[in-house]
C-alpha cells in the first residue's frame, strides 16, 4: 500500500485552520472576558461614560431692605474659560475679548499661552456681557473658548451698605463677610442631585435626566435698613469726612422703640460688585468692629446712674474747680466753667470735673453696675459677624478712684458706635433696653416667615430717662452740641472728644482725636437715635472752631442725618416757635 505523500497544499490548509482556530479562540476569549469575567465592570464603565451625577445649585436667597428693595440678588451669570491647547492665536483672541469682559489684555494672553487644558479668563459675567463675548467669538471664529454658567451675586445699589451686607465667595458662593456670612446657612439653601445622560459631545440627552433630590432655594432675609436713609447717612458722613479730612467714620441710626437699625455706615467702604478694587481695610464694618473711648458721650450713663440711685437731682449743685486731682491723676475742663454748677449744667457744658464729682458720690460699684446694664463690655446684637465686645473691666479690676474718675468721663472704657447708639436708644425709650438688630425677618421659600422678636429689659426708670433727655436737650440748646440743632424738631444729644489712643506706643496722641456726637430726635417723643463718630478729624471752621471736637465735626453730621430720617419716617415737625 502506498504511503500518503506530504503535500504543500495540506500545510496551507492546516495553517489556515490553525489561524482560524486561534482567531476564533481569541474572539471567544475576548467574548468571555467582555461578557463574562469583566461584564459588570465594563457595563459600569459604559454607564459612567454616559451618566453623570451632577449637583443642582440651590438659588441663594435675596437680601431686602425694610421696604422690600433688593440689596443682594443672585442671578445666573457666566464664566469665560479656555482650553489653551486649542487657542490658535492668543494675542488676537485676547485683543478681541479682553475689552468686552473687562479683563487685562496682558494677563489674558499669558493665560492663553499657558500649558494647562483649562483656564478662567473672566468670571461673574452678566448676561449682556456674556452674549457680546459669544458674538465676538463667533464673528472672529475663535476656538477653544468655553462658557460656564454660574450663580452671580449682584448688589444693585453698589457700595451702599456694603460693609453691612458683606460679600460672597466667587467659587462656591458662600458668605464671607457681613450679613452674607452671618445668615449664610439661611441664605444658601440646600443643593440637589441629579443624574444626566449625555452624548459623546457632552450634550444632555432629552428625557434622560433623573432627579434624585431637588434643590431647596435659600430663604430671603429682610433687613431693618432703610435704603434711602442709609444713602443719606452715607452721603452726610462722607461729606463730614471730606470736610474734616478724617481717616474714616461710622454712623448708626436706631429706632429706639423697636431696636431696629435703620442705617449703619462705615467709611471708607467698598463696592461688592467690583472686586478688583477691594481693599481689606475697607471691608470691615467700623460701626461694630472699631472700639473707641466714648469720652464725654458716656457722661450720660454716669449721670443717669446717679439720678436712678437718687444721689443727685438735675438742680443739685457741685463745686467745679478748674482742676481736680484723684490718686495722682489730674483732671480738668476744656474752657471756662463757673465754680459751682448744677447737674444739668454739668451735662450741658460737658464738665469733666463736675461729672467726676458726681461719680465719686455714686461710687465705683454702682457705676460699674450701670455701665454693665447699659450693655458695655458685651456684643450688642447677634446679627453681626466679628462684633467687638468693647472694653469694660470688672469693677474688682479697677485701679480705685482714678479708674472710676476716668470711666465717668469716658476714658479707660472702649465701646463700638453700635454700643453707644444702644445706650442712647435705651435713654430714648424711657429706660427700656431693646436689643438692637438688623435682621427683621427670614422668609422661607414656602412663604412662611420668622420675625425677629428683640429682647427687652429695664435699665433705668422712665423718670430718669426723661430727666436725662431734658439735660441732653440742654446740651444742644445751650451747651456744646449747638451745631446739632434742627429747625423743625427739638433734639438732644451729647458731644464727645477723646485723644486717640495709640495701641502700639501705649500712649494717647497729643494731636489726633476721636470725635463723637450721639443724638435723639425729636427729644420729647424720640423716633430715632443717631450715633456719629469721626476718626482723626482735622482743621478748623472759618470762625476758628477746632474740628477735632465732636461738637464741631460730628454734630453737624448728626443734624443732616436726623433731619432726613425724621422726614423719611413721616415724623411731623414738633418744634414750637419759642424753640
Amino acid at each position: 500500500m502506498r504511503r500518503p505523500q506530504f503535500r504543500f497544499g495540506d500545510l496551507r490548509v492546516v495553517a489556515l485552520g490553525l489561524v482560524f482556530v486561534l482567531a476564533w479562540g481569541g474572539i471567544g476569549y475576548r467574548l468571555f472576558r467582555v461578557q463574562g469575567a469583566n461584564a459588570a465592570e465594563l457595563a459600569q464603565l459604559g454607564f459612567d461614560q454616559r451618566l453623570r451625577h451632577e449637583q443642582i445649585e440651590a438659588k441663594r436667597g435675596t437680601i431686602y431692605d425694610r421696604d422690600g428693595v433688593e440689596l443682594a440678588v443672585t442671578i445666573y451669570g457666566s464664566s469665560l474659560a479656555a482650553d489653551p491647547s486649542l487657542v490658535e492665536e492668543p494675542a488676537r483672541a485676547a485683543a478681541a475679548l479682553a475689552p468686552v469682559v473687562d479683563a487685562d489684555y496682558v494677563e489674558m494672553v499669558t493665560r492663553l499661552e499657558g500649558d494647562g487644558r483649562f483656564v478662567y479668563l473672566a468670571r461673574g459675567l452678566e448676561h449682556d456681557v456674556a452674549e457680546e463675548a459669544r458674538r465676538i467669538i463667533e464673528e472672529e471664529d475663535l476656538v477653544g473658548f468655553i462658557f460656564e454658567e454660574e450663580p452671580l451675586r449682584i448688589y444693585p445699589s453698589g457700595a451702599l451698605a456694603a460693609p453691612v451686607i458683606g460679600l460672597t465667595r466667587l467659587d462656591d458662593g458662600s458668605g464671607v463677610e457681613g450679613i452674607e456670612a452671618v445668615m449664610d446657612t439661611e441664605l444658601a439653601g440646600r443643593p440637589g442631585k441629579r443624574i444626566v445622560e449625555r452624548d459623546r459631545a457632552g450634550r444632555a440627552i432629552p428625557q434622560a435626566e433623573f432627579l434624585l433630590e431637588p434643590s431647596v432655594p435659600g430663604s430671603d432675609v429682610v433687613l431693618t435698613l432703610d435704603r434711602e436713609l442709609q444713602y443719606a447717612a452715607e452721603r452726610s458722613l462722607q461729606a463730614g469726612i471730606d470736610r474734616t479730612d478724617a481717616i474714616g467714620g461710622a454712623v448708626v441710626a436706631i429706632d429706639p422703640r423697636t431696636g431696629e437699625i435703620l442705617a449703619m455706615v462705615s467709611l471708607p467702604s467698598f463696592d461688592g460688585s467690583d472686586r478688583s478694587q477691594l481693599d481689606p481695610a475697607t471691608i470691615r464694618n467700623r460701626a461694630i468692629s472699631d472700639v473707641f473711648e466714648p469720652g464725654s458721650t458716656l457722661k450720660a450713663v454716669t449721670v443717669a446712674a446717679a439720678l436712678e440711685e437718687g444721689i443727685v437731682r438735675p438742680d443739685t449743685p457741685f463745686e467745679t474747680p478748674r482742676e481736680i486731682e484723684i490718686s495722682g491723676e489730674t483732671y480738668s475742663d476744656h474752657g471756662y466753667n463757673p465754680p459751682v454748677m448744677t447737674v444739668s449744667d454739668i451735662v450741658a457744658k460737658s464738665s469733666n470735673v463736675g461729672t467726676i464729682q458726681i461719680q465719686r458720690r455714686l461710687g465705683n460699684e454702682a457705676h460699674y453696675r450701670y455701665l454693665d446694664a447699659f450693655g458695655l463690655g458685651r456684643t450688642a446684637s447677634i446679627d453681626f459677624q466679628g462684633e467687638a465686645t468693647g472694653r469694660l473691666e470688672h469693677v474688682t479690676d479697677w485701679c480705685g478712684p482714678a479708674c472710676g474718675a476716668s470711666a465717668a468721663i469716658g476714658y479707660g472704657i472702649g465701646a463700638t458706635p453700635l454700643q453707644m447708639a444702644e445706650i442712647y436708644a435705651t435713654l430714648a425709650n424711657d429706660g427700656e433696653w431693646v436689643e438692637p438688630h438688623i435682621v427683621s425677618e427670614i422668609i422661607a421659600p414656602d412663604g412662611s416667615s420668622l420675625v425677629t422678636e428683640p429682647r427687652r429689659r429695664e435699665v433705668v426708670s422712665a423718670d430718669t430717662a426723661r430727666t436725662i433727655r431734658s439735660m441732653l436737650r440742654g446740651v444742644v440748646e445751650r451747651g456744646t452740641g449747638r451745631r446739632a440743632a434742627l429747625d423743625d424738631f427739638p433734639v438732644g444729644g451729647k458731644t464727645g472728644t477723646t485723644n486717640k489712643f495709640n495701641v502700639e506706643s501705649g500712649e494717647y496722641s497729643d494731636t489726633d482725636t476721636i470725635a463723637w456726637f450721639i443724638g435723639i430726635a425729636p427729644i420729647d417723643d424720640p423716633a430715632i437715635v443717631v450715633a456719629v463718630v469721626l476718626d482723626t478729624p482735622r482743621g478748623e471752621l472759618p470762625d476758628g472752631t477746632d474740628l477735632q471736637f465732636g461738637g464741631a465735626s460730628a454734630a453737624p453730621i448728626f443734624a443732616e442725618i436726623a433731619e432726613t430720617a425724621l422726614h423719611q419716617l413721616g415724623v411731623a415737625p414738633t418744634h414750637d416757635a419759642d424753640g
Partner: protein, 130 residues
Amino acid sequence: MTAGAFPRTAARPIRSGRRARPVVRPLAIFVLAVIVAFFAVIYMRISLDRTAFELQRLNRAIAAEQEHYWDLRVEYARLQDPDRVTQRAAEIGLVYPEDVRTIEVSGVAKTVGGPEDRWTEMRALFSEQP
C-alpha cells in the same frame, strides 16, 4: 354496505380556488399589520423624541424667562438706586427746597406696623416667584 364500498374518486372532496383564499388573506393582513406596526413604532419613537426635544426647549424657555424675571428685578433695583436718582435729579437741575413745609392731614398719618405688615402685596408673591 360499508364505507369501503364507495368509489374513492366519487367521494373525494374537491379543493376549490375559493377555499384557498382565506389562507393568503390573513397572511397578507398580518404582513401588512407588521409593516404598519413597524412604521408606527418608528413614528411613535420619533414623536416621542420630538416631544422630548420640545419639552427640553420649553424647559429652557422657562429657565430663560425665570432668569429674565430676575434680570428685570435687578434692573429695577438699580434704576431705583438713590445714588443714580440723585445724579439724574442733579442733571436735570432739581434742587432741595429752601423752605420745607409739612402739612398734617388727620387720618392719613403713617402707621408704623411690625415688619410683617410692610409691603404685604409683594411678599404675598414670595412663594410664587421662580
